[in-house]
Symmetry: none
Subunit: 236 residues, 2 copies
């Protein structure tokens, strides 16, 4: 089974973590990451995981999202609402297809936000795509484990589909490399007095979307960093 | 939304009833029937139903399966195991298609059995079809609410495509604007001595690919041009 990292961000209810682990194992997934869970470990998580407690035991826990996605080359956020974000939108089937198109050696992360408020804008800024589960417009917010269930179910349906095998391997920049690039870009824009650190507005967020969408490979991220370095030298 | 009656048979855990109601409402379903639930009503069911407590309030409760399916013209049982039963098997997608093929005036019932033991042989004898959710052969038993979620999700997908509705129209940069941007970028890179005009190699081609892929909108192309202009001022 093609693996995707399932990242649960700041989950309130431990029962949802257990139920998500069970949903994953039912569909042949095993890479569970928890970011700052509000109550965990917990007997309730273990009870709801049922026979999938081995996934819970192996789940990696991080204080911030950075650690959970550092090595990911593709980050997909889940969202109940149509947000006014210019991120490309996927439905769960297209999401599964995109995951399958990535080389097996690369990490793909799918993020699930808080029960009440979902993912923050800062977290969404780390995403290349949003996946939205089609739902009743008058009651659109799925339980987290239910959302995980649908996403991993769609992944499972593509298992063994020969159409999706043998994709060319692109050596994408990792999430960590992208963060280093954004830090460098921000410093340079301040140096250029294009970005006012006292009143930064939405500039970095907009640039994140722009460069996040294009998914630079290793060569391209090196070019971009090289341009910034040339600029730093010239201006100093 | 095409309706199917979701029948939960002899459910042990009231939380599962609540979670199933929520899954149904999320996907636009509203006809919930309970057959001999072991603990119900229950505060746990109401809590897990979250905003779908109206479905619980309207759920019909029966002592035996007979009452719950009396008016159904098509009865589909869910099963985790491949049983040696001479019933036609469906996957969730084929199940949804079959439901949609029934006239709207007719009742279709989908049965979900007990947490540990599923549907009894007597109950399976009442079914026209079995639907099986494909799952990990080593851990195949889904939580009841998770199974309901997948079945109603597949039903919802046949009702049009809400995810694709109301996509915001993006005001992409024109080809001419992109050319102007590339000219400006090239001049700036020469000024920075990052690009050698005598030996330009593949640099501009690579940058064209990078920015071409991301398809900047009007706002983004203005930001990029603004950064270049800030750089020109600083370096001159």
């Amino acid at each position: 089974m093609k693996q995707a990292r399932i990242v649960l961000v700041n989950t309130s209810h431990p029962g949802n973590i257990g139920a998500a682990a069970r949903a994953m194992k039912n569909m042949g997934q095993s890479d569970l990451c928890l970011v700052d869970p509000q109550r965990y470990p917990s007997a309730e998580a273990t009870a709801r995981a049922s026979g999938a407690d081995d996934l819970l035991a192996r789940a990696k826990c991080f204080g911030t999202l950075n650690g959970a996605i550092a090595d990911a080359v593709l980050v997909i956020g889940t969202s109940a609402r149509s947000r006014s974000l210019p991120l490309p939108m996927l439905d769960p089937r297209a999401c599964a297809k995109l995951v399958y198109e990535q080389p097996d050696t690369k990490t793909v992360a799918i993020l699930f936000g808080r029960e009440r408020t979902g993912l923050s804008n800062e977290e969404l800024d780390r995403c290349h795509y949003l996946v939205q589960i089609p739902s009743n417009p008058e009651y659109s917010s799925l339980n987290i484990a239910a959302a995980v269930q649908i996403i991993v179910y769609e992944l499972s349906l593509l298992a063994g589909d020969p159409v999706n095998a043998g994709q060319t391997e692109i050596d994408y920049a990792t999430a960590q490399q992208m963060e280093q690039f954004y830090d460098h870009l921000e410093e340079t824009l301040v140096e250029l007095e294009f970005l006012d650190p006292v009143n930064p507005k939405q500039l970095m967020r907009r640039l994140r979307r722009l460069f996040g969408r294009t998914r630079p490979d290793q060569n391209e991220i090196n070019i971009l960093r090289g341009i910034l370095t040339a600029m730093n030298k010239k201006c100093s």
